[in-house]
Amino acid sequence: MAPVGSYDAIVVGAGHNGLVAACYLARAGLKTLVLERQPYIGGAAVSRRLYRDFTYSNCSYVCSLLRPEIIRTLQLPRFGLQLIPYEGGCTMMRDGGHLALYDNHDALRREIARHSKRDAEAYERYSRDVMRQCKFIKPLLMREPPDPTSFKPRDILELLHLGQRFHRLGERRMYDTLRFWSMSAADFLDEYFESEIVKAHFAGSSIIGTALGPRSPGTAYVLLHHYMGDIDDTVGAWGFARGGMGAISNALGASLQASGGAIRSGVEVARILVRGGRARGVALASGEEIRSRLVISNLDVRRTFLKTMDPGDLPDEFLRRVRNFKIRGSSGKLNIALDGLPSFPAIPAGAPCIRGDMHVTDTVEMMERAYDDWKDGRWSRAPYIDMLIPSQIDPSMVPDGKHYMSVFVQYCPYVLADGEWDGQQRQAFGDTVIDTIARHSPDFKSLILHAEIRTPWDIENEVGLTEGNIFQGELTMDQLLFNRPIPGYAQYRSPVRGMYMCGSSTHPGGGVMGAPGANAARAVLRDLRRMQPA
């Protein structure tokens, strides 16, 4: 078939990062096209109607870190995006007790003090230390990581900039930072708290989406994610998107179109076309070819380079590294339509914490044992769950009086030790999760109208994320900063000229943050300026 049309830039995949990158490129005046395999846009940030009038945030379920500068520049509120914070959160205990988190400082202190007076006050030191690290790390999110092996002025300046920022911390805080980045969440929390339930509650955010346990070194810094939104008074950076996570993607799509960009959904890119070491466009599964000067892939690196490119177009060494890039499926998801609000006897009547994230893992050991199961190719027999009922806050998602529950499950392997996932295995996994919740909610099972169960295998098939990994690659030290995704290719560029990466596989990684997309667009535009004759 003859090539149809020609673009300045094609973005492969309409996930939030692809859309962010496309928005920036379109705003810079490039003729931009986004191609999406599914009939809807959003990738993992979608709202879908899978049961009657219930809207599900199908995969991603909270907006944690979407950068305020992106929301502002791309005018997302104008295009319908409204972020609403959720309230508190809690962990229910096996003995019928609970720990809740409240926004009010005094309520929180008294709540933690029910478990340990000392921890209630140590919490201040904990928040201070985590906040100090946030302050240091936050500005790095929106920057391109320098290549430490390079002698290019830009890299050297960037390294110097990093060094200077680090140096400004002063000796003690520099050591604190070094330790913080390399510690396990469990060890880190041990330096603050004595109560098991307090440690367990905070440890939760260190394992979400990772193939690591709370005792694995390097998990402490993941604790930051809950705090990152709170700094510099960016109120409401952490919460729900009104109308579900799809609202983010839809706003991005609308912003893109308003800037003159185009989206084609329901078309699968089969090959990224390369000639003479340069990207030339894409070939669709239908056989159609679309020309473009630039191709930006929002797919994870493994999918991008191993499945949509010809290995002959890439250096062997690079391919080997791509194969070695760790993307591990470790999370499952249940979306449940409920006939009413389930009761949780552990939570006192009227406590607002059920409008936040609810958990049932009450010790760090329980969490670590859940991880041990995953290592052996089993889903956790007592999984860590991050469970939310967004319909309490956003009534637009469900029919009156009904509720929608999102249950994120850690850990669930991509491949089971005893074979592939099948319908029966999936159901057994779902039952494990439902039984876990039912232990804390006697009426829960009777309220279930519909439960959708997603294993990593399902997430891969539906969203395209390799192994269903929500971060498009493990967030371990060997895959962060200048190592992410591949050493030497951490600046959104690939070995092929005109071919870029903009997904969560790149710095600074996953979460509905948008930073990789924005950073990638910046790298693309800088290259364009350099190529243009003055």
């Binding site: 409240y102 009010n104 006050e121 406590a351």
Partner: protein
């Protein structure tokens, strides 16, 4: 005091009520309450000026209960406190009180407070903020028991020139012999109380400590005894004016605990806060000693000073400049008030070296809201000695009986 069972849970009503709450609520005319260390307390009862003048002219009752209190006991109690605070607690006699500060390893202030010595190794530490985390970490290696007893001890500050007369009228035999910073045991309306001659107003005054069950009886008795001596309940705003006149610093206003700062360089050392007189380098080791020795050798980079500001508009939040032109910024005001007694416009300010010498002239950049129109004024300010107001009556023993 209402039983805890009938009070709404903490997630509905996060703030606690002190045992004096019912009395305070009854006297509050303007319903102005503020949170303090987890309690709800009165900011203003009637009118700030009336309450202020009662401090300087008659006597006042101020609910001190939210003050965080720790009981420190055990064989290593004295050694522990001496390693904690910068002052020599060994010199503190039994039944005496000392104002102290304590620092982290870097010599940065964690908090200030008062140490009460009740026995050989029995102390009470009173502070504005909770810090059991630091106090227990400091206890590693000492035979000491540190327990928070805030809820077990109710406290009132009775301050003002007629406070002695009020206590005498309330029947506290021997109160005339109680010297500044001394502790005595008395009873008020048959309720046993501990009285210390301490306070935060810089005036004659006492602090009265009791079990919560005695709170209302003691309050009522003092109000009766003080009726002819101008007694009135006061809130935090009036007290704040008095404490600035007295030159006292206040946490979260003039300094932030080094355990709470997030940004770099926001910590303060006692030397910077003008509290060098509280630091005893010869008493043996205490936390922060090496850092403070180094700082005193090197000289402080900034210091908290008193300012006498021209005009009558308090220099709230003002930046300070070396010249009127406002080019060279050298510090900022931390506390400011019009002093109704001195008739001076006074302030506490953090000033960079070398501009903090007494007698120096600085310029305060003051923003005035005059009938909703903002105006800016560079006010000439002079660095002066603190305190701004220190009447002799505060130390007289026996005090004058009005």
């Amino acid at each position: 005091m209402p039983a805890d069972a009938v009070r709404p849970p903490h997630f509905e009503q996060p703030l606690l009520q002190t045992p004096f709450h019912a009395r305070a609520r009854a006297l509050s005319q303007v319903d102005s309450f503020i949170p303090w260390a987890g309690y709800t307390t009165v900011d203003v009862f009637t009118h700030v000026e009336q309450e202020y003048f009662a401090i300087r002219n008659a006597s006042t009752l101020y609910d001190l209960t939210p003050m965080v209190k720790y009981r420190i006991t055990g064989r290593g109690g004295s050694a522990y406190l001496n390693r904690l605070v910068t002052r020599d607690v060994g010199k503190l006699k039994i039944d005496r009180v000392a104002y102290c500060v304590w620092c982290n390893d870097a010599g940065h202030l964690i908090d200030d407070g008062t140490v009460f010595r009740f026995g050989e190794n029995e102390y009470r530490l009173c502070t504005a903020e909770r810090q059991i985390d630091w106090l227990l970490d400091s206890a590693v290696g000492f035979e000491v028991d540190v327990t928070e007893i805030t809820e077990e001890v109710a406290a009132l500050a009775l301050q003002g020139p007629t406070s002695f007369a009020v206590l005498k009228a309330a029947g506290l035999a021997g109160i005339e012999r109680l010297r500044p910073f001394e502790i005595g045991r008395f009873s008020i309306a048959t309720q046993p109380v501990t009285v210390s001659r301490t306070g935060f107003t810089g005036d004659l005054g006492y602090e009265i400590w009791m079990v919560p069950g005695s709170a209302e009886v003691v309050w009522d008795a003092l109000m009766v005894a003080g009726r002819s001596r101008g007694i009135r309940a006061i809130g935090s705003q009036a007290l704040n004016v008095a404490r600035i006149e007295a030159g006292f610093i206040s946490p979260k206003i003039d300094f932030l605990s080094a355990e709470r700062t997030i940004r770099i360089g926001r910590e303060r050392s006692p030397l910077e806060l003008g509290l060098a007189w509280l630091v005893d380098f010869d008493k043996g080791h205490f936390t922060g000693r090496r850092a403070l020795l180094e700082e005193s050798r090197r000289g402080v980079r900034r210091r908290l000073v008193g300012l006498d500001v021209e005009g009558n508009k308090p220099a709230h939040n003002a930046l300070l400049y070396a010249q009127r032109s406002g080019k060279h910024e050298i510090g900022f005001v931390t506390s400011a008030t019009w002093s109704p007694t001195c008739k001076r416009n006074i302030a506490l300010a953090m000033v960079d070296a070398p501009h903090f010498a007494v007698g120096g002239i600085l310029w305060a950049d003051i923003y005035l809201n005059r009938e909703l129109v903002w105006e800016r004024r560079m006010a000439r300010s002079r660095v002066v000695e603190r305190p701004f107001f220190a009447p002799d009556r505060r130390r007289a023993t026996p005090p004058a009986d009005f």
